[in-house]
Symmetry: C2
Subunit: 199 residues, 2 copies
């Protein structure tokens, strides 16, 4: 009984692993279901037995990658002086991770295109995106930032961070670009700080 479940999980994992590699390396469009099937060591029919279609395979891969990225970002921003500073760190870790290699391909290039912007944000909001809103909310509670609607502001930041990640991925000197964008991002964050010290 557990045998069956194991077997299923194993096959699923193999498909996911192969798909992640292929999607990351070649992108969604350039990867065929036949390739995925072959790379996972199963027949095409088996892939369709586990996933309703190519997009669903991608969605599963995307979710896995999302989770992993959020985990690493959280780890990177664990220690920080105040909440806004932690946001700057997290944000920087996020777009550094996303701007390089397979992760960027899945998270930024293909993500919105394949899943649609809405679903893309929906998933991201469960991992990294949601944290921005939380931190912002906390910052307001602490008086670091003037009280105002959180949602719109959080979305704007998410958009800015995404843009930075894309730009870094495209840049010839990603590291240098990363520094430049991190700085600009901090300028933006600092601008939010309450002007007349509420302290």
């Amino acid at each position: 009984m557990a045998r069956q479940a194991d077997r299923t999980a194993q096959t699923r994992a193999a498909i996911l692993e192969a798909a992640k590699t292929l999607f990351g390396a070649q992108g969604f469009a350039a990867t065929t279901m036949d390739e995925i099937a072959q790379a996972s060591g199963v027949a095409k029919g088996a892939v369709y037995h586990h996933f309703a279609g190519k997009e669903r395979v991608f969605e599963a891969v995307f979710e896995a990658v999302s989770m992993e990225v959020a985990r690493q970002v959280a780890a990177a921003s664990a220690e920080a002086t105040d909440v806004l500073a932690s946001m700057a760190t997290a944000t920087r870790a996020y777009f550094t991770l996303c701007s390089e290699g397979p992760t960027g391909q899945v998270m930024l290039r293909d993500g919105p295109a394949v899943l649609g912007w809405a679903r893309w944000r929906e998933i991201d909001a469960q991992h990294f995106g949601g944290d921005i809103a939380k931190v912002l909310h906390l910052a307001m509670k602490q008086g670091l930032v003037p009280a105002q609607p959180v949602e719109p502001l959080a979305r704007l930041f998410l958009g800015a961070v995404t843009e930075a990640a894309m730009a870094c991925g495209e840049a010839e000197h990603p590291a240098a670009a990363g520094r430049a964008y991190a700085e600009a991002l901090e300028t933006l964050l600092d601008g939010l700080r309450a002007r007349r010290p509420a302290r």
Copy 2:
């Protein structure tokens, strides 16, 4: 001799017009070259005679739409008190235009997916995107904003505006969402203003 050129231009225009309508209504993926050909009143081969492929058709449509949007944005922000305020107005006009209907489909949903983020920004930078950098630069020159690298900051804003446009397009009450995002955007812009010596 002008006859030939006329004919060519006319056919091209017909294809572009049909493609714009179809891409806007159904999106890039759901539109077939056969449809475009039929709607333009020419054979498929003629479309390929004028454009190297489906993506090139889209690119031409995208450029036309981009230009039109930039024109309307410029018109909307013509009168404004200071440069930052004009940016707020322009920005708002931009994401209002982009968040609705066919324009949004072409500019935001399919644009980056089909052209690739890099090429997408490249084209946009020739129209709307470039203006952000210009305005920011001017604002620094006038002392409204502390001097700092313009490029990264401009990109972040562009990302934020794009995000706002997407969110508005998705929202159930686009008008209300538009107001909320416009306000958040102004908060961000205001945060950039040089702080008063009085504290």
